[in-house]
Amino acid sequence: MEILFFVLGIITLIAALLVALQRNVRHAALFLAISCLGVAGLLYLLQAPVVATTQLVVYGVGIAALIRFSPRPLRQMTRPDALGPAPRWWGAALVAVALGGILIWGALAYPGASGAATDAHTDFILPLIVGVILLPLAMTAAVRIGGRR
């Protein structure tokens, strides 16, 4: 179990880092799909097969379908990108490392935080479900915006 966790974790992390560093947008999408599949594997390890399968289908198949059957503008955008990272990439790296460090410190310093986190689930579940119902509206708006010439 532990070995599987480390294998999946390393695959997920390396693929995520390659998304950040890859110049070719199609390759970045491929690595994103690999990272998402790694997360799905970790969700299976956490004994949440429904969420894991949703993750697998939505991301794994979704990203592949998006790249394969994408509309023409998106195909043009996903050509190898001449642009590297932004000029001040080191600032972004600094912020990411600092925030990641704070999160890791929090995970190690407050091991009892899980109780508080799960208590919050029951209090906020209704507004969250209302939000999920409203989301198809956002998707409709996206189609409308994307289709406008």
Partner: protein, 103 residues
């Protein structure tokens, strides 16, 4: 032997950092969206890990995680719609060049 909760949280933090770097450092809008997906993946992982280790009798944590997945897909759809609109209008997907609101 089952890995401890803190290991999942550390992995989630590292995944979050990678996503944050992608969003902040990359100028291509499509890749920036991929960074947001990475960030929300780390959220999903954390939610399910919290649910699993709290040994809750209900499925609240999984419901939350499913909601995050749906929200992720919706925001990617909205983001891609905006980037396609940007491409059609200005023939670019570079976020730095979408500065019409500054003028």
């Amino acid at each position: 032997m089952t890995p401890a909760l803190s290991w999942y949280l550390i992995l989630g933090a590292l995944l979050f950092s990678a996503g944050l770097y992608t969003v902040l450092a990359r100028r291509n809008g499509v890749i920036a969206l991929m960074g947001i997906v990475l960030i929300l993946n780390s959220v999903t992982l954390n939610l399910v890990a919290f649910w699993r280790y709290a040994e809750s009798a209900s499925f609240d944590g999984q419901v939350f995680a499913m909601a995050v997945i749906v929200i992720t897909i919706a925001q990617v759809a909205v983001g891609l719609g905006l980037i396609v609109a940007l491409w059609r209008r200005y023939s670019t997907a570079v976020l730095d060049e979408a500065d019409a609101l500054k003028e």
